[in-house]
């Protein structure tokens, strides 16, 4: 169920209250909100702005500068494919083409069943055993298209269990 405006606002306020005492608190606050809600809701922007004594435009400018922050809800599982050179040398271009066509999405899009949000990433520090894919907080090494499909299947099965359970 989507959260009500009130729930969103109190979640955002909780992040602000927890972190505002830190010097340079904005990034920690944004990370915290995205961690809890999965994205930074547009209505959070004026709320953060007034707490930090900044303009909404400034907050918005920061959110859009960083690739990590998103302003709308996305799929349940974050799947990031490394696009950088060490992975290219081991076939990541082929892997990313496979991922996009098998999932039926481009980067920054969510699959129609809402399960997978596909994102590019530039290096995961796993470059000795590439190509690399990150799912949630876990990195996977030497990912072939077949391995990719198996990983996605696992995610989708998990999702069913959650729905049934």
């Amino acid at each position: 169920m989507p959260l009500t405006a009130e729930q969103i606002s109190s979640t955002v306020q909780a992040s602000i209250n927890k972190l505002i005492a830190k010097p340079g608190a904005l990034l920690p606050i944004l990370h915290d909100i995205q961690e809890v809600l999965g994205y930074i809701p547009p209505e959070a922007v004026p709320q953060i702005a007034s707490a930090l004594n900044q303009s909404s435009a400034e907050i918005h400018g920061v959110i859009t500068f960083y690739h990590q922050f998103r302003t709308h809800p996305v799929g349940k599982h974050n799947v990031e494919i490394c696009r950088a050179e060490a992975c290219q040398a081991m076939g990541s271009r082929h892997l990313e083409a496979h991922a996009k066509s098998s999932l039926g999405v481009d980067y920054h899009q969510t699959t129609s069943d809402g399960a997978i949000f596909l994102e590019p990433v530039y290096c995961l520090g796993n470059c000795a055993c590439s190509p690399s894919v990150r799912i949630g907080d876990r990195v996977h090494a030497r990912v072939t298209p077949e391995r990719f499909d198996a990983l996605i299947d696992e995610l989708r099965t998990d999702k069913l269990e959650v729905l049934n359970g």
């Binding site: 930090l52 400018g61 060490a86 040398a89 990433v121 530039y122 470059c127 000795a128 055993c129 090494a141």
Partner: protein, 524 residues
């Protein structure tokens, strides 16, 4: 009682180390074997991960790579009795040639123990450097770092002692403090040495930052860590809280009356935030726009105060220098490149991993003796050294000695030590296009040559690849690169032309003769 080690490093886990660890535990439980399972860091021999070790009377013996579909048969063959009768048996870990041939200063402790165990850290010489530093004044510490010849490991190779001197001599505003900022953004593709140092030996970095704080009189430190490293994040936070509890961080370090606090801050997926001034903006909660220099961050840095910004490996080298003496560090190396450099063998390489050696080895030796050729077994064709802004080197340049000056003479950079290997299936015009595309995606947008030039660069390379006005477009590409080099504020725009032009210069055939246009010529 059997003591077994299975790394918790993120590459080891990416290759299945958790499943291997679980299988070992289940096996021991069913057989009634008393087991002590240590989740150590990695030694950085990634081509042998998951590397499982068993303690014996003669030392630790290793098995690898132990994939999860092999662990059961290895266990049945007698892993817990340290069997020598397995194709995965590697002998004593310390004698694995890949490791034995290295000169490990910064990575001496990597992979030996549970990374957050403070007692282990101290048992292996940890905090000896801090103990010495606490008995010295700030200037004496700075002098020691100067004498070591240590240069920044983040890419620019600036002498660390000189940077520290500037911060030492600068005064913060009344009531404010100076800062120590660790650049743990490690954005360069093909690099993982910072990650390994943080995951396998976090206290070494914490100790190095504490010593830096004592040296220049800074009371607050930040580790700016890229969000792509969740394991390092968890390990650093755990180590920091244990160091605080043991009095190695906080208001009164080891009872000396000196204060130093440390906090990890996460980046948010922006390559440019590895550039030090952009990083500082980001830490202040702003967009990561690059600042013009001067003023130097050493004088006007974080929140306007004097600030040391150093790479993870720079700061991690400091405890060794203090503990063993600057001369021990300066004694190895080549020319003006002193000490060791952590090379990272990556991409299409048979034996990828971390190779810490003294400067001066040739690239060829690194690729062959350590790397063992390509992973695919095809011919090695191009090697990109120094991250996404580093040049692609053709075979004719692989005899270049690995030191800062020799590389500069080839219009190449060592940077952070990343070495990415490509086999002969690579299309270098596609690589050149990617360099420009990466600059489009990651430019902070402040300078036109970087922001617009890279967009134009992608278009021009696309035209060249499609054989539209090829000669004119090749010229245009050269001009564009020159404009970017001359008109960019930082190395993002200023060095993107390095990989691009090296591809053009050394692999020109990929820009000229494709099968498609040969066919065209034949039919014309």
């Amino acid at each position: 009682m059997v003591k077994v080690y299975v790394p918790q490093d993120s590459t080891a886990k990416a290759l299945g180390a958790d499943a291997v660890a679980a299988a070992i535990q289940i096996f021991a439980a069913t057989k009634g074997v008393e087991l002590e399972l240590v989740r150590n860091g990695s030694r950085g021999i990634f081509w042998l991960e998951p590397l499982v070790e068993v303690e014996t009377a003669d030392g630790r013996v290793a098995y690898g790579p132990v994939m999860d579909d092999q662990i059961d048969s290895l266990l049945n063959a007698g892993l817990l009795d340290a069997t020598t009768d397995s194709p995965l048996y590697l002998g004593l870990t310390e004698e694995i040639p890949y490791l034995a041939r290295q000169q490990r200063f910064t990575f001496a402790r990597a992979g030996i123990a549970d990374p957050v165990c403070l007692d282990n850290y101290k048992a292996q010489g940890g905090y000896e450097g801090l103990t010495k530093a606490l008995a010295m004044n700030g200037q004496a510490i700075v002098d020691e770092v100067k004498t070591s010849g240590l240069r920044g490991r983040g890419g620019a190779a600036f002498p660390t002692g000189i940077k520290w001197q500037t911060v030492h001599d600068a005064q913060p505003t009344d009531g404010e403090t100076k800062y120590i900022v660790c650049n743990a953004d490690e954005g360069d593709s093909g690099t993982f040495a910072d990650r390994l140092a943080m995951e396998a030996d976090p206290y070494q970095l914490i100790e190095g930052m504490t010593i830096a704080g004592l040296a220049v009189g800074a009371e607050q430190g930040y580790i700016y860590l890229r969000s792509e490293y969740p394991d390092a994040h968890r390990i650093l936070n755990e180590a920091i809280s244990r160091a605080e509890a043991a009095g190695y961080l906080g208001e009164n370090i080891c009872g000396s009356g000196s204060k130093f606090n440390l906090e990890v801050r996460l980046g948010a997926k922006a390559y440019i935030c590895g550039e030090e001034t952009s990083l500082l903006e980001s830490l202040e909660g702003k967009r990561g726009m690059v600042r013009a220099k001067p003023p130097l961050p050493a004088i006007v840095g974080l929140f306007g105060q004097p600030t040391i910004v150093n790479n993870v490996l720079t700061l991690a080298a400091v405890p060794f220098i203090l503990a063993q003496g600057a001369q021990a560090y300066a004694d190895v190396g080549f020319g003006r490149s002193r000490g060791t450099l952590a090379f990272q063998l990556a991409g299409n390489i048979k034996r990828g991993g971390l190779v810490e050696v003294a400067f001066g080895l040739s690239l060829q030796e690194l690729l062959e003796d350590f790397g063992g050729g390509t992973y695919t077994g095809r011919r090695m064709r191009a090697v990109q050294v120094g991250g996404p802004l580093g040049a692609y080197l053709p075979e004719s340049q692989w005899d270049t000695p690995l030191d800062y000056e020799s590389f500069a003479a080839q219009q190449a950079v060592l940077g952070h030590g990343g070495v990415v290997v490509f086999d002969d299936s690579v299309d270098m015009s596609e690589q050149a296009r990617f360099s420009m595309e990466f600059c489009v995606a990651e430019s902070c947008g402040k300078c036109t040559p970087c922001r617009i030039g890279s967009t134009r660069g992608v278009e021009v390379i696309d035209k060249i690849r499609a054989n539209q006005n090829r000669d004119a477009n090749m010229e245009l590409l050269e001009d564009l690169c020159e404009t970017m080099v001359d008109g960019s504020l930082c190395a993002m725009g200023g060095m993107t032309p390095f990989p691009v032009m090296s591809a053009v210069r050394h692999f020109g055939e990929d820009f000229h003769r494709t099968t498609a246009d040969q066919n065209e010529e034949v039919s014309a």
